[in-house]
């Protein structure tokens, strides 16, 4: 039988180990949240890791070493990106040049649009701040756009840092992720070890499925939007496609945010009704493909959260981290839900 001293020693060791592992995780979290560019780089690295993992496993099954299996998709994706940028660069530079030239025209158009809206409002409710409203809005838009241009070098610097750091982290996560996890698990006290291991496995499985599904979704929605807008000859199709793909990651309100710039552009340029209908049709088609095929087949089965929970956590996410918070709020909530239910099962649902 175990003596009281043995029992005390076991409990003390468990407490020390738990403290060590908690401190380690908190320290890692502080670094990720506080060091500049670290949060975005880490998140992007996780997305790259989960997206490439099936390819790495496939190559490993074909008999290649782990490192070779990781290097090949990295080179492949790198080449694809380089080729893609090379192929798209004339379109992008042309669209950027057009945007630069048309900026004053766009602001003037925007002001006219606001004037018209203001006129209609005053027609019904009388002159309520009408004169200053369109002026103020146009000035605000000009300041905002000029501000973005001034911040461009900083933003480009950030993009450059993230695009170096994220693949670097992803490479080591794929190669040494398991070893890192094993070292962390060594610190976990024996009485919680199986719980931690199981929890990590479940979160890993769910996140992998979720991230791969959402990345595919963004790619398809973005691609369909770009292609559709190009076909109908709508301006800035590349940027609008990328924007629609990225914002589509935000549940419910993402597609609306994604389509807004195109509608604003159409209204400002006073496009014909046919163009607006065609443009709306493109966004509708992208959403239909998403809702009818991608969501039921790949996304819905992965996370099981109530729509009210989804909306509430998106609001919380937007308050804490803006657009990034809106995008990551769902996987984070789903991981928290999984953790709570596993801990509850372990501690409370214990049955003999």
């Amino acid at each position: 039988m175990m003596s009281k001293n043995d029992d005390k020693l076991i409990k003390r060791e468990a407490r020390v180990k738990l403290l060590a592992v908690t401190l380690l995780l908190v320290f890692a979290l502080i670094i990720i949240l506080r060091v500049e560019n670290m949060l975005v780089s880490t998140l992007l690295a996780i997305v790259i890791t989960y997206s490439l993992k099936p390819i790495v496993s496939y190559l490993e099954r074909k008999g290649m070493s782990r490192t070779t299996s990781i290097v090949i998709p990295f080179i492949g994706v790198g080449l694809l990106l380089a080729l893609g940028s090379w192929a798209l660069s004339p379109i992008i530079s042309q669209q950027l040049a057009t945007a630069k030239v048309e900026l004053p025209k766009f602001i003037a158009g925007f002001k006219t649009l606001l004037d018209r809206i203001g006129y209609h409002i005053s027609y019904y409710v009388g002159p309520v701040m009408r004169d200053s409203f369109s002026e103020k809005a146009a000035n605000y838009l000009q300041t905002l756009l000029q501000g973005s241009l001034t911040d461009l070098p900083t933003i480009m610097g950030k993009i450059f840092t993230v695009s170096i750091l994220a693949p670097f982290f992803a490479f080591f996560l794929l190669r040494d992720g398991r070893t890192i996890m094993k070292h962390i698990l060594r610190l976990v006290p024996n009485n919680l070890f199986e719980l931690f291991l199981n929890l990590f496995h479940q979160i890993n499985q769910q996140m992998g499925g979720f991230i791969r599904a959402r990345a595919l979704e963004a790619l398809i929605v973005g691609g369909v939007t770009w292609l559709g807008l190009s076909l109908i000859g709508f301006p800035y199709s590349v940027f609008l496609g990328v924007f629609a793909g990225v914002t589509n990651l935000i549940p419910y309100i993402g597609p609306i945010i994604g389509a807004t710039p195109a509608f604003v552009l159409a209204l400002v340029y006073q496009d014909s009704a046919t163009t607006i209908i065609l443009m709306g049709g493109v966004y509708l088609a992208a959403q239909l493909i998403d809702m009818l095929f991608i969501i039921p087949l790949v996304v819905a089965k992965i996370v099981n959260l109530h729509p009210v929970t989804v909306v509430v956590v998106i609001i919380i996410g937007s308050q804490l981290l803006g657009v990034l918070g809106m995008i990551i709020s769902i996987p984070v909530t789903s991981a928290i839900k999984l953790t709570v239910s596993a801990v509850y099962n372990h501690v409370v649902g214990f049955r003999v």
Binding site: S3, D6, E13, E60, K182, E194, L197, V352
Partner: protein, 184 residues
């Protein structure tokens, strides 16, 4: 009762290298040295003090343990007394270095531990868990299939032992019932 838990695949194993411990275990005995290195990379070495629980009856089980060094007691608890002295706890068996236990959790989904395991002395265990098996199956199906096939064999033999034990217990119960109804 002991034979149910006694390890029939036991080999003499006293603080040997991880490769040796794994290759001596029935689950990994078909693997080549290269294939074993993949398993070595994946398994977990855990240290337990005398009297420390490895797992408790009723907990969700995630995998099995191979005893690399030391010995482990397997105990059962029930709300009803399990032995004539009225105790609700009973020692089922003591497992030694080379033995393994908890392998049913490798295939069960959310199954709970049917008994508790406690370190009878300071010991080192090699943990092999369901996520590890799934990773092997994903990265190298050939290795995974070899392990799963041996695992099926172990579980089949455990089932056969249990069936034999039930037959013996039924026979003994029949004898007792016959004796109690016998007027003399």
């Amino acid at each position: 009762m002991n034979t149910l838990w006694e390890n029939i695949f036991k080999k003499q194993a006293q603080q040997r290298s991880l490769t040796r411990i794994l290759s001596d275990n029935i689950l990994f005995q078909d693997l080549s040295t290269k294939e074993l290195s993949l398993v070595e990379e994946i398994v977990h070495e855990r240290h337990y003090r005398k009297g420390e629980f490895i797992f408790q009856q009723g907990e969700v089980g995630v995998g099995m343990y191979i005893i690399a060094q030391g010995s482990v007691d397997i105990t059962l608890y029930d709300n009803q007394p399990l032995v004539p002295d009225g105790s609700k706890h009973v020692l089922v068996t003591r497992l030694e270095a080379g033995d393994f236990f908890g392998e049913l959790s490798l295939v069960e989904d959310g199954g709970r531990r049917s008994a508790s395991s406690i370190a009878a002395e300071d010991c080192i265990l090699i943990g092999f868990f369901k996520p590890d098996l799934l990773e092997i199956l994903e990265r190298s199906p050939t290795v995974g299939i070899k392990i799963v096939f041996r695992l099926a064999e172990v579980l089949g033999r455990r089932l056969k032992e249990t069936t034999d034990k039930i037959r013996v217990l039924r026979r003994e119960l029949g004898h007792i019932q016959n004796k109690s109804t016998d007027p003399l």
